[in-house]
Amino acid sequence: MKILVALKRVADPDNANKVKIPASGEKIDTTGLEWKPNPFDEYALEAALRLTENGTQPKVRAGEVVVVTFGPKETETTLRAALATGADKAIRVDAADDKLDGDLVARALKALVEKEKPDVVLMGKQAVDGDSNQVGQILAELLDWPMATFAATIREEAGALLVGREVDGGVSTLRVKLPAVVTVDLRIVAPTSVYSTKTPQTHKYNDGVRFAALPAIMAAKKKPLVEVKLADLAPEQAMKVSYHGFAAPPARKAGIKVKDVSELVSKLKNEAKVL
């Protein structure tokens, strides 16, 4: 199985409360925040690696994982890290971060899919900077492929994936025949969430994503990383959604500490009037 994983780098989500917005509101300032892979895309990569191996012998590859990102030269750090954890090949689509919207990324990915011919495209359900949750769905429609969004579990079957999706009020299970697009949710990296046809169903993965060992980091430097021009994938580069400004969220006024339960109940009843 060949899997294309779309991987975006984002400003450190654990410090997202440190983003600054200048008074002019013209941009979001993430200066001082470290770049990290979008967590959901990292989970997608982990799922892709699990689908292309026998979990009991993870060093033997049983398929191919190609990672792709959109961005300037320095995003190659993110790609090298992905290669070090086990991806086989990386592609950087050269683009400026602020000249992309979800639609343009999806159109470029479509062209890349037609070139690379993967069986599955995997990505996070959303990037935690823009929080848009759209690229996977748009890509699936442009390709006229089936999709399974918000995946919490994936079981590989012959020529298909059985996907458990986290939706409102429960879990919806779909079977998608390949090729297909799958976007992943948090719990896709739980120990029993993803099985290839090769991995014994009794095998339990470590919880979370895998980390690269030092020799793998060295070896990753020799793995192929190619650069592609955005214009070669998407000749039409106009964005459909454009931002005019940004604003900080309204600040909550500082609250108080109450000393005990009776004071709390009294405040809720008499001051906030919510009981």
Partner: protein, 323 residues
């Protein structure tokens, strides 16, 4: 700009409450651009649900019913929604799991720009400007869409549910446009519903959420409090990940976004991604034994205490206060 189309969400012959927030958006947007709005009711039981949609002042109610729409699949719904949507200027739904799955596909089919999870709509020279949260709610972007048709999803907690105002919008039946080619390769297998007698998290007036600190006593501690308040129960990601609460109770950036009148955070430290899901609540109460927990920075009322002793006491106190 022309008119606005609301894509309703239907379950068991009824409109889901999510639909009412999209209607509120449509009423505002239509007034802003000087057009009307219509409501598309598509799915199994759409005919029955259509009657409910008649009382909101829509120009018309469009109904699409077909045996193959029984279990929702975007690949079956998107072609019809797009075929109807192409006669409108704005196509809107609510950013529920359904809306988030379906609407981007509809947008792609229409060659339309898509803005998700918007919290505000304002006029801009005959066009619309949208405000939407980014970076886990730590910034808001103000954007507009340049394509002739615009597709948006709205954040349910940011648009109050529309109330019926009377009137009888005419109902029109529209033929099902058929599935896309992709639909041949996707099969609905099952839906495992989590049954609960409590109100829906996103609609409840009061939400009681618990964190990992509750451990196996998650329900034992929270249920009595939720019962006395008629509240929905929520959970932090840590509590869900640890298996103390089912994952569909997760409140946060990537879980449910809630904005109730009253929110209790019990044993929740207040990670950024949790705050993103509840910061819009009117009154926030935090109970945590760690006085430095970040949750206290957003709480209106904080109580530093052991939750296992405090919550039962609180249940009694609230019972007494309610008389």
């Amino acid at each position: 700009m022309a008119d606005v189309l609301v894509v309703a969400e239907v379950a068991e012959g009824k409109l889901k409450k999510t639909t009412h927030s999209a209607i509120t958006f449509a009423q505002k947007a239509a007034a802003t651009i000087g057009g009307t709005f219509s409501i598309l009711v598509i799915g199994d039981g759409a005919g029955k649900a259509a009657a409910e949609a008649q009382g909101f002042g829509a120009a018309k109610i469009l109904v699409v019913e077909d045996a193959s729409l029984k279990n929702y699949l975007a690949e079956r719904y998107a072609p019809t929604v797009a075929a109807i949507g192409k006669n409108y200027g704005v196509v809107v739904g609510t950013a529920s799991a359904y809306g988030k799955d379906l609407l981007p596909r509809v947008a792609a089919r229409l060659g339309a720009g898509y803005a998700s999870d918007i919290t505000e709509v304002t006029p801009e020279n005959g066009n619309l400007r949208y405000k939407r949260p980014m970076f886990a709610g730590n910034a808001f972007g103000i954007c507009s869409i340049s394509t002739p048709i615009q597709v948006v999803s709205v954040r349910q907690s940011a648009f109050a549910a529309a109330e019926p105002t009377g009137g009888q919008s005419p109902v029109e039946t529209v033929a099902y446009a058929g599935p896309s080619k992709a639909a041949e390769r996707v099969e609905f297998v099952s839906f495992d519903q989590v049954k609960s007698a409590r109100p829906e998290l996103t609609e409840a007036r009061v939400v009681v959420s618990g964190g990992r600190a509750l451990k196996e006593k998650f329900n034992q501690v929270l249920d009595p409090l939720a019962d006395v308040l008629g509240a929905a129960v929520g959970a932090s990601r840590a509590a869900c990940d640890a298996g103390y609460a089912p994952s569909d109770l997760q409140v946060g950036q990537t879980g449910k976004i809630v904005a109730p009148q009253l929110y209790f955070a019990i044993g929740i430290s207040g990670a950024i991604q949790h705050l993103a899901g509840m910061k819009g609540s009117k009154v926030i109460v935090a109970i945590n034994k760690d006085a430095d927990a970040p949750i206290f920075q957003v709480a209106d009322y904080g109580l530093v205490a052991d939750l296992f002793a405090t919550v039962p006491e609180l249940v009694k106190g609230i019972q007494a206060a309610k008389g």
